[in-house]
Symmetry: C2
Subunit: 198 residues, 2 copies
């Protein structure tokens, strides 16, 4: 029987995605054995995130500043707006350093199964940003899932009336993808979107 | 590119056993999305563990008191001592509520591969506890692994000269175990330790 403090920490860790009760217990034991090297840094990191981070009121990114560093950066192209489902998708695109514009985080995707409706996502603020003008292109960078694509179609309908170019990420073979191992859906999309050899 | 605070938290979580960089990133996103319900409790639980818990100087258990609740409990049988590898093993035995005595946590097991020698474990303090007298039985509750059993044999040699009964956990079929699915080592031990039907 561990002490109530240990039980509380085990339960808090067990609620993280990817950890269950057993692995949470192992993690707690690891933290207790390495108090200086593991427990201290984790505690400090959690404190810093809890105290310093806030959600950008403009785009939904999480940063120490509001507006966030991306929204506040004058070198960012204000005419290009990339819409993503989650903050993690924004991070993934930023790691590639390929998108010069700004972002808009929806905070999820439409899902009949999970009961997520348009009003549960940051769609009105997106429409307001486009309506305010100055944006030429909206890139719908949803996941290539059924729900992601449903969300993209819904958004395309909602912003159709504005004078902006609406694009979406290309679908096709991933780099290193071998035809023999790809699913039929990916193959069908790659074939449908085939391009002349340049 | 996430903020330095987020990167630090991701790295601290990724060092936990059972979490890698990708699952740590997912966990951080979960914490950021559920600040009230997940980040706050986890932070508070870590703080409580970090500030209130200490290692019992007598047995090596981790508790809010030193000596720990088990060592300080007068209802515990002082004549029976159960030696375990890790604090987690002590918790597992305490969950079963079957052992009436006290514990001694070694802090690991002898391992030539990992370079863990007798002086790296709490063996001298164990010998001193037995030497101090008042103990009738020492239960060696090591894991049924090669290293656990090597450790048990080493301990048995070390405490041979004291007037105590040295026992170890029985090895054999686990509850619900089907012969067809058990490894040969377990079957051999179960057969070797066979008992008359009572």
């Amino acid at each position: 029987m561990a002490s109530p403090e240990i039980e509380a920490l085990t339960q808090a860790l067990a609620r993280l995605p990817g950890l269950g009760p057993r692995s949470a217990r192992r993690a707690v034991l690891h933290l207790l054995k390495k108090r200086e090297a593991a427990l201290g840094p984790l505690r400090a990191a959690l404190e810093a995130v809890d105290e310093r981070l806030e959600t950008c009121a403009t785009c939904g990114n999480v940063d120490t500043a509001n507006p966030c560093a991306i929204c506040a950066d004058p070198r960012r192209d204000p005419r290009a707006l990339c819409v993503v489902e989650e903050v993690a998708d924004l991070w993934a695109l930023e790691r590639s350093r390929l998108f010069p514009g700004r972002f808009h985080v929806l905070g999820g995707r439409l899902s009949a199964l999970e009961g997520i409706r348009p009003e549960d996502l940051a769609i009105e603020t997106l429409v307001a940003r486009i309506e305010a003008g100055g944006i030429d292109e909206v890139v719908l960078a949803m996941n290539a899932t059924l729900e992601g694509q449903t969300t993209a179609h819904y958004l395309a309908d909602r912003i159709e009336r504005f004078p902006v170019r609406v694009t979406q990420l290309a679908h096709g073979l991933p780099v290193g993808g071998e035809l023999d191992y790809l699913d039929e859906g990916t193959l069908a999309q790659a074939l449908r979107a085939r391009r002349p050899v340049s």
